[in-house]
């Protein structure tokens, strides 16, 4: 009834090419942006920001990044944790070496450094495919974590081997460090996430995205119709690593504040982000958000119900969480291999015909 193209006349090419061609979608998008920017900051407190919103925003960036590589370009990567660590350490080194420069620029630069490292580890993807590549990216994961653990230059020779974010301000507001007001880091991450999502969305529906998808669907055929696999694969690695690096920088500087590389950016982090895009939906920007929201919310919910509600010991609850996550992954792969995004797509198709399905 309200969800159709009918009556929404497009009179120029720009309108015809816009991201959300259906009016309802467009208004929904503006509404979500409005709520996120103008309503939530007034309602949240420290607990909400640290338990839910910051991890959700940051993991969304990482999930979008990984989705570009795995979902759009078909190159499975298990090195996400390692690349996030590159972002975090690059951000740390930049923050401590050039304290006078804006942290926003540091975060972007950290993403740039990670993109470089990503391209380096993406080089073997030209020879190695499928599982072999997935395992090869593990080399990145373990080597990078080891590097940041063992080379003191990266953590400025601090005795604990940890890195901790110095206090930095943006427009006079503290966004890192212990004395932040709840909404400042939230808005900081939200702005970056919005920029990333818009870029990713437009990249993936443009020429570059089509090249990636051609490579994903069959790289030899893509090569024959004129897609340069070298450029396509390496650009996917670069863009993906850029987002993941930005996510890692935010994860360290804004969310955690102090980081021990093996704990924060271990192999489990890689799997977590991978699970997000599987559950959310491979090859979908919305899916990245949905998956991140799901896997951030579920442990909080489970913990509240099991530990808070039923009084289980925390370790039993943690094992139960593993069990649930594993079962969910398998269930999703069996019932809906395209994830939450596919459910959303089906719902939209139904809504188009509603209330007269024939």
């Amino acid at each position: 009834m309200f969800y159709r193209e009918a009556g929404d006349f497009k009179t120029n090419y720009a309108d015809d090419n816009q991201t959300f061609p259906i009016k309802f979608d467009r208004y929904r998008y503006y509404f979500v942006l409005f709520v996120a920017f103008a309503v939530i900051p007034f309602l949240i407190n420290d607990y909400w920001v640290n338990a839910i919103f910051l991890p959700f925003l940051i993991y969304s960036i990482a999930a979008i990044g990984l989705n570009i590589l795995v979902g759009y370009c078909g190159q499975v990567s298990l090195g996400t944790g390692g690349f996030m660590a590159v972002g975090a350490y690059a951000c740390y080194k930049l923050m401590t070496s050039f304290p006078e420069i804006n942290i926003f620029i540091h975060v972007l630069l950290a993403g740039g450094v990670t993109a470089g490292v990503g391209v380096l580890f993406g080089l073997p993807s030209l020879r190695i495919k499928g599982f072999y590549l997935a395992v090869a990216t593990l080399a990145a994961q373990f080597f990078l974590v080891w590097l940041f653990n063992r080379v003191p230059w990266f953590y400025n020779y601090s005795a604990s081997g940890q890195i901790s974010a110095p206090e930095r301000t943006l427009f006079g507001l503290e966004v890192t460090g212990p004395n932040t007001t709840a909404w400042a880091p939230y808005l900081f991450c939200l702005v970056i996430l919005t920029i990333c999502a818009v870029i990713a969305r437009n990249l993936t529906r443009g020429m570059q995205g089509r090249k990636w998808m051609a490579i994903r669907d069959m790289d030899i055929a893509a090569e024959i119709i004129g897609v340069n696999p070298l450029k396509a694969k390496l650009s996917a690695f670069a863009v993906s690593s850029f987002f993941i690096g930005v996510a890692g920088a935010l994860f360290f500087s804004v969310y955690l504040g102090a980081v021990e590389v093996g704990e924060a950016f271990g192999i489990n982090q890689s799997f977590l982000v991978l699970f997000m895009i599987i559950i959310g939906g491979l090859g979908s920007i919305f899916g990245s958000f949905a998956g991140a929201a799901f896997l951030v919310l579920m442990p909080v919910l489970l913990k509240n119900v099991l530990v808070g509600g039923l009084g289980w010991p925390t370790d039993t609850a943690a094992h139960f969480e593993f069990l649930i996550v594993g079962a969910l992954i398998v269930t999703f792969l069996i019932a809906e291999p395209h994830g939450l995004a596919q459910l959303w797509r089906v719902a939209k198709e139904k809504l188009r015909l509603w209330p007269f399905p024939h």
């Binding site: 991978l274 079962a327 792969l333």
Partner: protein, 333 residues
């Protein structure tokens, strides 16, 4: 012989022993991959699960004790009996067969004809599930596994290799863990048995037929379901052996499942489809990482064993993408 050479030899020997243990895990991967095209990430967790179950049965633990205690406020822990090792191993094997059946019935039957990468991710999900399940069932504390295998250094070898030092006072002979030596023998026996099984028995032949071509195998009357359950059971058995070896060596604990990650570069090096490849790859990785740690490690901060195997496999793959013994990958449009 000069001292460094002697130490180097000892490092190589110990690397070979460690490599055998990697190869044990890698074997399970190869079996499942050959027969069903599934790259089973859960192999390491299966080894952990098998070891946990074995200890649980031997010690007479009540399954899900922690869960029951948490839910009903009881204080259950043990049945109060001890099961002899041999019987416990048999019972664990029964559990592993049941697990194989359940995995086949509830997961992979529904995923037939999916892309390999989807199957791979399903096994990652399975690994998480099993990890949570095993810990819920038997508790997550570190357990000691003692099935009567000898442990500690072998004095016999130490005494009989002392002459190699030629009067060098700092050399006391090679130090080899007796458990590692036994593991080597068991691995050798296992490989021989597996090869015999797949070459000379009816089921083994059926298994190879399925590996070769699913549809052709179906058309000559081979039950895919049965073969897959059987393959997962055999992989479960290999996991049990690996679990016993690793469990006896370093205790039954979560890090056991991480050896699966070590088995991945072994597989890449040897090729996913080759049983000898798994063995040779395991030995190369084992020796390589020990030698690298021994020779280069001290200069660059140590603990290089965490990543050396992966980087070695990565570099190797760039030159030979299908591994040492893998079938050549032919791609067509």
């Amino acid at each position: 012989m000069p001292e460094s050479l002697l130490y180097g030899t000892e490092v190589v020997l110990n690397g070979l022993m460690a490599g055998v243990l990697y190869a044990l895990v890698a074997l399970g991967f190869v079996l499942i991959y050959k027969a069903s095209g599934i790259f089973n990430y859960a192999q390491g967790v299966m080894a952990l699960f098998a070891a946990l179950t074995l200890v649980g049965i031997m010690e007479g633990q009540i399954p899900f004790a922690h869960l029951i205690n948490a839910m009903f406020g009881t204080e259950l822990h043990h049945f109060g009996w001890h099961v002899p090792a041999f019987l416990a191993i048999l019972l664990t094997m029964v559990v592993m067969v049941f697990l194989a059946w359940a995995v086949q019935k509830f997961v992979f039957r529904h995923l037939v004809n999916q892309e390999p990468i989807i199957l791979f991710m399903a096994t990652i999900g399975l690994a998480y599930f099993l990890e949570g399940f095993g810990d819920l069932m038997w508790g997550s504390d570190i357990k000691t596994l003692n099935v009567g295998l000898p442990q500690g250094g072998s004095f016999w070898i130490e005494e009989n290799t002392q002459w190699l030092g030629f009067g060098n006072e700092n050399f006391y002979g090679f130090f080899l863990d007796r458990l590692d030596i036994i593991a080597t023998f068991i691995a050798a026996i296992l490989v021989v048995v597996l090869v015999l099984f797949s070459q000379y028995t009816k089921q083994g032949r059926a298994m190879r037929a399925v590996a070769d071509d699913h549809q052709a195998a179906l058309s000559v009357g081979i039950s895919l379901n049965f073969i897959w359950v059987m393959v997962w059971s055999v992989a479960g058995f290999v996991a049990l052996v690996a679990g016993i070896m690793w469990g006896a060596k370093s205790g039954v604990q979560f890090s056991l499942s991480l050896i699966a990650l070590k088995a991945l570069p072994v597989l890449m090096l040897g090729g996913f489809t080759s049983i000898p490849g798994a063995i040779v790859g395991g030995l190369i990785i084992g020796v390589g990482e020990k030698l690298f740690e021994f020779s280069v490690g001290p200069y660059i901060g140590g603990a290089t064993e965490n990543w050396f195997a992966y980087v070695l496999a990565l570099i190797f793959l760039v030159f030979r993408p299908q591994g040492l013994f893998g079938e050549k990958i032919i791609e067509r449009v």
